[in-house]
Assembly symmetry: C2
Homo-oligomer: 363 residues x 2
């Protein structure tokens, strides 16, 4: 893996990583679409800050940038024993998961990597140097795996949507940003849209603004333009009228965490779109890597929902848009019950359908 390869994988180069030099840069998503500015991520703290301030966002991208930040710090850390390495690594992984609570992928990755480190610690045939190399290498493969998984998600999702069309091409609504910028590349829900286009079955994409952070207006609109996909921006409040006018064949969104029964936490507003889709008989899909599924939770009630500061709602680009003095309520996510996910949950393993009361019970 090197710069030139990464340039091919992600057109927008949202995550640039040089394996040899252990050099990570991310595109600052707070500055998009106006400025293309890269930030150096040199250690765990840099990664934590970038995630916390939403310079990088999207559940898969958060996991990758968080873990790479730890890997870079690990690569130069002076550690005199395997025990010391394990403790150091476990502490850094625990810290990085505290940046944002809702997206599960980084929590899953941290759990997996800590267990992997513990196994290497016990393996007497593994040297200190080898242990460090193996952990770093394991993290570095996440970048490639994520892109491959997204391409499978795109294919499974697009084929499922096409199977529902009564002739013609698909008009798709999506919410928030789930593309190159939210993942290592290709995208989840946006990957489905990309694959529909590859199949010649995409007519049109509508993307919501996604208040209060405008990921749709800033990031998805930007990605659609870059990909020359016919896209139109709407306000979050316009979804129902659009559906009533029969302009939508399917909704596809991403996920920050899916419970074992299929209840799905995603960007605030997703739940409202799902209610409207149900009312208008429009199939509603969630597209996410299997790592977004948290089988430890039987339903969505116990998914932690992050609340963000008032100012993120009251200001845009540093200018106050709300009357000075008004208080705000600013949940960053909501949970869509499985019953409203009428299309299915699209993963790299296939599309899970709600044809039983419980999702994923057969896994």
């Amino acid at each position: 893996m090197n710069f030139s390869k990464m340039e091919n994988v992600t057109n927008l180069q949202s995550i640039s990583y040089n394996q040899e030099k252990k050099f990570l840069q991310i595109l600052d998503q707070l500055e998009l679409p106006h400025k293309t500015k890269y930030l150096d991520i040199k250690d765990t703290k840099d990664a934590w800050t970038a995630v916390k301030t939403m310079q990088v966002r999207g559940a898969p991208a958060i996991a990758i940038v968080g873990c790479l930040g730890v890997a870079i710090e690990l690569s130069t850390a002076k550690l005199s024993s395997k025990e010391e390495l394990h403790t150091f690594f476990a502490e850094k992984m625990e810290y990085i998961t505290t940046a944002r609570p809702t997206a599960v992928n980084i929590h899953g990755a941290a759990k997996f990597l800590k267990e992997y480190s513990a196994k290497l610690l016990e393996d007497t045939s593994c040297s200190l140097t080898s242990m460090k190399e193996k952990i770093i290498s394991q993290i570095e493969t996440m970048l490639e795996t994520d892109v491959d998984d997204n391409k499978r998600i795109g294919k499974f999702g697009a084929e499922d949507i096409v199977s529902r069309l009564n002739g013609g091409n698909a008009k798709i609504l999506t919410h928030c940003n789930t593309g190159e910028l939210a993942t290592a590349g290709y995208g989840t829900a946006l990957g489905v849209i990309r694959h529909l286009r590859e199949l010649g079955k995409l007519e049109k994409v509508y993307c919501t603004e996604t208040r209060p952070y405008n990921q749709g207006a800033r990031l998805t609109a930007y990605e659609l333009l870059q990909e020359k996909i016919d896209g139109t921006l709407i306000c979050d409040s316009m979804v129902s009228l659009l559906m009533k006018m029969k302009k939508i064949d399917a909704v596809v969104v991403g996920a920050d965490r899916v419970a074992g029964n299929g209840d799905t936490a995603n960007k605030i507003g997703t739940y409202q779109i799902a209610i409207s889709a149900k009312y208008h008989n429009v199939p509603f899909y969630v597209a996410a890597p299997f790592s977004s599924i948290d089988l430890s939770l039987s339903n969505g009630d116990s998914i932690p929902i992050e609340f963000r500061p008032d100012d993120e709602l009251a200001y845009i680009n540093g200018i106050r848009i709300a009357a000075p003095g008004i208080s705000c309520w600013n949940p960053s996510f909501d949970v869509t019950p499985a019953a409203l996910i009428t299309g299915g949950i699209i993963t790299e393993k296939g599309v899970f359908k709600q044809n039983t009361d419980e999702y994923f019970v057969f896994e």
Copy 2:
């Protein structure tokens, strides 16, 4: 009617009219809440421009400012016969209704006033001077009538909501702006909220931002602060989560036009809130003067929906928030079917309930 009286009627002084001097000023709502800037309205053209550019908005306020603009122009017009007066007046009234298509109040007022002018034209006992005075006087009474009607709306609505409470005080959600700024004073939906507070039965108000023009964030939030009402601002996309968390006892919104069966055109996003309210069993009310009811329409399908320019969605305060080049879809209103108006339609004549298939058939 004079300045000092008007100051008592509208605390925010959104419409300032001096009857003796025929001098009209309106508060420029595009500048709120940051600047309190008044605009002189000297004739029909000034009024048309203020309505078109949304310096004044809200169905009742549009009607009043539009008609007063014509009245002022009429007061100094050199007209040599009653026929000439009638033609002049009818043309001005027709022109003023072209500024915005959805709100019906100004259309109703224009129809009524043109008929009134025609009647005076035929009345041989009425002189040219008297005809002019009577028409102007008729328009001037609209200001006072609107405030009185709003107070009755407030009382009827608040009492209906209180009758549904199982003890405790009401937590109300409202959308867009329906207060002093949208009317001659007191407000429609906000008048209901005001009266709930007067009864000591108001716990809390949530107001939506109301994208893309942010009437909620800018104007309703501002009015709630002025009135010292406990208000919290949310994004349009957060309504469903708020209802799921049982934080809302009733939704009250305004109307731009109500069809004979109760289907209601109102600010874009209203329909989506009504769907969500239905899903969560939250009563949904429309509050509007009876002049908002267009009995010529049997249902909402034929209410004209205004589309506004892309830039009103893509820019805030002159700064582009959407990716450059993306196209937008920007309907200004949507129609909520009567079946979703589960609380009722509150007018100055009482609260109309959907206990038959048709609203208002008994009128």
